[in-house]
């Protein structure tokens, strides 16, 4: 029998409903797995007492006779970016040291209302700024996949979530995605991650990075699990004015695996110079799989793709510089020790210098610069115009009848921790080259594990869907998952 912590959400749900297993058993199995996996650095705040209490409540609900929600009794990890009432929520930053929210984020509250169990908080890049989980105040999260002496990155910013799910420390985890922070780590660790349409999940209570791009989503072992968990995370929230007041479909019921007659677009601009042969082959294989499943394959053009990353690195830092202005040492978190005679300006400047790490400082200052008098039009407004063009590229191909777009998820497999230390910041930014367009256009995107490279590391493919059509997108992903038949798991070395 499979270890309980290695079950999928769907398997655990079915076993819970049949009474073959209890949430207490599942939760204990996960807590034990977490205890033995400290070296992965995935869980950074542990909440075993809360988990056992939630598990007991879930078991009572399951036994009460009434149909319990699908997520009832399922043990999860929650990214540190989500404010969780009474539980440390630091966004991976020193500046929020000691912060224990007095409130619960809407997404985590929805999961808990559905009966889900929180095992603890998960590592991440500081304020979700990074692609390797190396900017975290907690230290690195480590990829459970290992092929030589090196420790590999699980990707970022949701690195702890990816590592925890891939290593079977939990059944699923929450992530957030501003430029690829769910999909890139999912690809690096051989799991599934979906960023829904902008507005599907409430952003209330999630520490803000770039408000016009941020979206929460699930990171899971299978596409079916992503469908189940996403449904529990979505829904209208009056506390987030950008949250969409649209009905949330039963995503799982839409997983038929039938993609006959669907049109899948292959964007020529994603064929980058110097793309590794293995990524190119994976992409071609995925295209062939969708074709064999009965989809129609068409070549498409998204001409402004090249400008997505530069536009992102204006818009995201600009919004971050504004959002992160609130960390001033007054209302919560860290305050620097002041010297005699220091006034309030010195308090702000010292607090923020001590509290923010180098990457966050860099982005806040870039954002400040592109918004400053004299540069606002040249940088910020121009980037917003380019964003309009990037979205229009997608609008046009969808209007031409394309149902989903297939691309690689990342330009490479997971790299070694520390390997990018000498590179300039832009080299790290290139990790998001295939994912960032989706945030700029507000679209749903999913990363599905599709194969191993010659070293034996997982590679992912990305499917991009029409706005609000996560159900259809998940079904395409389900067909791809079925055809790819990816079942590899990392060997346990930790």
């Amino acid at each position: 029998m499979t270890d309980l912590n290695a079950l999928t959400i769907a398997e655990a749900r079915d076993a819970l409903r049949k009474g073959n297993v209890t949430s207490k058993d599942l939760t204990e199995a996960c807590l034990k797995a977490i205890e033995g996996a400290g070296v992965l650095g995935a869980f950074v705040h542990h909440t075993p007492d809360l988990a056992m209490a939630q598990a007991a409540a879930a078991d009572a609900r399951l036994q009460s006779g009434a149909e319990a929600p699908a997520m009832c009794g399922i043990p999860l990890g929650i990214k540190d970016l989500f404010c969780t009432k009474g539980v440390a929520s630091q966004a991976g930053s020193r500046i929020l040291e000691g912060f224990k929210p007095e409130y619960e984020s809407t997404v985590s509250a929805s999961l808990f209302d559905a009966g889900a169990v929180m095992l603890g908080k998960l590592n991440m890049d500081e304020f979700a700024m990074g692609s390797s989980n190396e900017t975290s105040v907690y230290g690195n999260a480590v990829n459970p996949w290992k092929v030589d002496a090196r420790q590999l990155t699980p990707g970022g910013s949701s690195g702890g979530s990816a590592s925890a799910v891939a290593a079977d420390l939990c059944l699923g985890a929450t992530g957030t995605d501003t430029g690829g922070s769910i999909r890139q780590p999912a690809a690096f660790t051989g799991i599934t991650g979906i960023k829904p349409t902008y507005g599907r999940c409430s952003r209330w209570g999630i520490v803000a990075f770039a408000s016009s791009l941020d979206q929460a989503g699930p990171m899971t072992k299978t596409v079916r699990d992503a469908a189940i968990m996403l449904e529990a995370m979505c829904g209208h929230d009056p506390k987030d004015s950008t949250s969409a007041d649209l009905p949330v479909p039963n995503f799982e019921a839409m997983l038929t695996g039938d993609v006959r007659g669907k049109t899948i677009g292959i964007p020529r601009e994603y064929r980058m110079d110097g793309m590794p042969g293995e990524i190119e082959k994976l992409w071609a294989d995925g295209t062939a799989m969708m074709k064999d499943a009965g989809a129609k394959i068409v070549d498409i053009s998204l001409p402004h793709t090249k400008y997505a990353l530069p536009a992102y690195y204006v818009i995201a830092p600009a919004e971050a510089s504004s959002n992160l202005a609130r960390y001033d040492g007054v209302r919560y978190g860290h305050r620097a020790r002041l010297a005699p005679g220091d006034g309030i300006t010195e308090m702000y400047e010292k607090t923020r210098a001590e509290g923010f790490g180098p990457e966050v400082q860099r982005r806040v200052m870039i954002g400040t610069y592109v918004l400053s008098a004299g540069f606002y039009d040249a940088y910020y407004n121009r980037a917003r115009k380019v964003r309009t063009l990037i979205k229009r590229d997608f609008d046009l191909v969808f209007a031409d009848g394309v149902d989903a777009i297939l691309t690689p998820a990342t330009p490479s497999a997971a790299f070694g921790l520390g390997e990018m230390a000498g590179a300039d910041p832009v080299q790290m930014y290139l990790n998001d080259v295939f994912t960032v367009t989706v945030n700029l256009a507000g679209l749903p995107g999913i990363s599905v594990p599709a194969g191993l490279d010659k070293q034996g590391l997982p590679l992912g493919l990305q499917l991009i869907g029409r706005p609000w059509e996560e159900g259809d997108l998940l079904n395409c992903a389900y067909a791809l998952e079925t055809a790819a038949g990816f079942v590899a798991k990392p060997g346990k070395w930790w």
Binding site: T242, D328, V330, S372, K385
Partner: protein, 95 residues
């Protein structure tokens, strides 16, 4: 556009982040690398294009202009580094 040390210091000041003098040259160099990357946007023809305001066309919901929240002084102050007598305490602002 090249960022000199004076501009780097000014940006740090605007962002309210203390940057020691000796760290400014490296910071300016990083800014220049990132801005060099962003400069590509200059190649795009944006004539007549509206800057994006909202990625999904939606009218923000209206609600009645009434108080819906409040009376949570203790919760609001609970995480303050320095709270006294129901207020956030900060160094003297006005002489």
């Amino acid at each position: 556009m090249s960022i000199d040390l004076e501009t780097a210091a000014r940006v740090a000041k605007l962002a309210r982040i203390e940057v020691p003098e000796e760290a400014l040259p490296a910071l300016a160099e990083e800014f220049n690398t990132i801005l060099g990357f962003i400069e590509q946007l200059g190649e795009v023809d944006v004539e007549g294009i509206e800057p994006m305001v909202s990625v999904t066309p939606q009218r923000l919901k209206r609600r009645a202009d009434i108080v819906t929240d409040g009376d949570q002084q203790a919760s609001i102050l609970a995480n303050a580094p320095d709270a006294r007598e129901g207020f956030f305490a900060v160094p003297k602002v006005v002489e």
